[in-house]
Amino acid sequence: MHLDHSHDGPSAVSADAHRPDGSRRALRIGLGGPVGSGKTATVAALCRALRDELSLAVVTNDIYTREDAEFLLREAVLPPERITAVETGACPHTAIRDDISANLEAVEDLEDEVGPLDLILVESGGDNLTATFSKGLVDAQIFVIDVAGGDDIPRKGGPGVTTADLLVVNKTDLAPYVGSDLARMAADAKAQRAELPVVFQSLRSEPGVRDVADWVRAQLAAWTA
């Protein structure tokens, strides 16, 4: 799945696994999903869980503000030089799939300026159920939905739900209040995704982001193996 060739030129072009100096670049994991599903909160929780064991950085793709980047800065989950915001011109899915050049620049600049890095999280702007990351930009992707967005989303499927390397069903603590059937969501997700993993999480209670953080650690172990 990884393009493991190197270019002779002065800088990497796209998904090259090595940096111009020959060192292995950071693992890049994308987080996508609908508006308000908890992508930024998950990124913040991952930073807190992983920052003491890994060198990491975050790229946010805000649709029309720097709110997501500023949330992460305000929460002080990482030093400010490790968080970069990309402007997406009213089309968040374009910037992560069809024209990834601005995001590639952001990840490469982070490696140049605060590297060496083990992991870069690329958070998409809130979008629709068809938004997926290009393989030229990320090595693996997480799709974040929440129980309050309707428990029929796993059944409806779509590229994000069906093909993401990890599906996160967030805000499980809200399920009783919005009438969402978690067992049904789990069965529908299983039907859509076969063997691909699904995590149900609530960031408001223990164990919080633990399962997702463990999945990220496993991805990183595979990347550096």
């Binding site: 030129g9 002065p10 800088s11 011109g89 009213a90 089309c91 910037a95 024209d99 620049e105």
Partner: protein, 224 residues
């Protein structure tokens, strides 16, 4: 020369970052200078004959093999707004990446080595055209057309303008865009013999001022 290669380079879907920029349209919409198809056409016409002509001349000169460093300095001299210089170099860097992946060439690699953070976009466009086997005329047409197609598609999103009307604006401007490209190629040919100062220096002060205003906004849809 391949016509199809020109279509690839000029395609609005060519993945070189243009979708995130409005060419000043976002600020002009907010300021009330673009309110519909007619004012979009006025805005684009002004842009075409000023920054469009300069961009087309830079692209044509680069396509003729004029030194990229000298052209990049000339572009700086013709771009007073720091925000626009940043945007032009960002877009240049993004185009460099896309062009190197699309038409691998030693000249593009050399340009990337000399400008790791990007040269002005029209300069990169001219070198990319060479790498694609295209000529100065093609590069000039691309730059001239881009100078109006970007604001037109941005205005469709900003004003919910009827996309057919926006496209008709581009079609009406096509003959003028052709003439601008011709003038740009003539200027670029003069640069080969007469030096860099033969480049036109048409400027649109309101675009420069607007870009500075826009860069200071906290909330915006487009990067420039």
């Amino acid at each position: 020369m391949s016509r199809a290669a020109l279509l690839v380079l000029a395609d609005g879907r060519f993945p070189a970052g243009g979708h995130a920029h409005s060419g000043g349209a976002e600020q002009a919409v907010k300021a009330g200078r673009i309110t519909g198809a007619a004012s979009l056409e006025d805005f684009c016409r002004g842009r075409l004959h000023t920054t469009g002509l300069v961009a087309a001349s830079l692209a044509a000169a680069a396509a003729l093999g004029v030194d990229a460093v000298a052209l990049d300095e000339a572009a700086d001299a013709r771009t007073p707004s720091p925000a626009l210089r940043v945007a032009a170099r960002k877009l240049g860097r993004q185009l460099m990446r896309a062009a190197r992946a699309t038409w691998p060439s030693a000249e593009l690699d050399d340009l990337a080595r000399r400008f790791p953070k990007g040269a002005h976009q029209p300069v990169v466009l001219g070198v990319a055209a060479r790498a694609a086997g295209l000529g100065a005329v093609d590069a000039a047409h691309c730059a001239a057309y881009e100078s109006v197609s970007g604001p037109a598609s941005a205005t469709v999103r900003l004003l919910s303008l009827d996309p057919f009307e926006a496209t008709a604006v581009l079609a009406r401007l096509a003959p003028e865009s052709d003439r601008v490209a011709d003038r740009a190629v003539e200027a670029a040919r003069r640069v080969v013999d007469g030096g860099i100062d033969e480049l036109p220096a048409g400027s649109a002060p309101l675009l420069e001022i607007g870009a500075e205003v826009h860069a200071a906004w906290a909330v915006r849809l487009f990067a420039s």
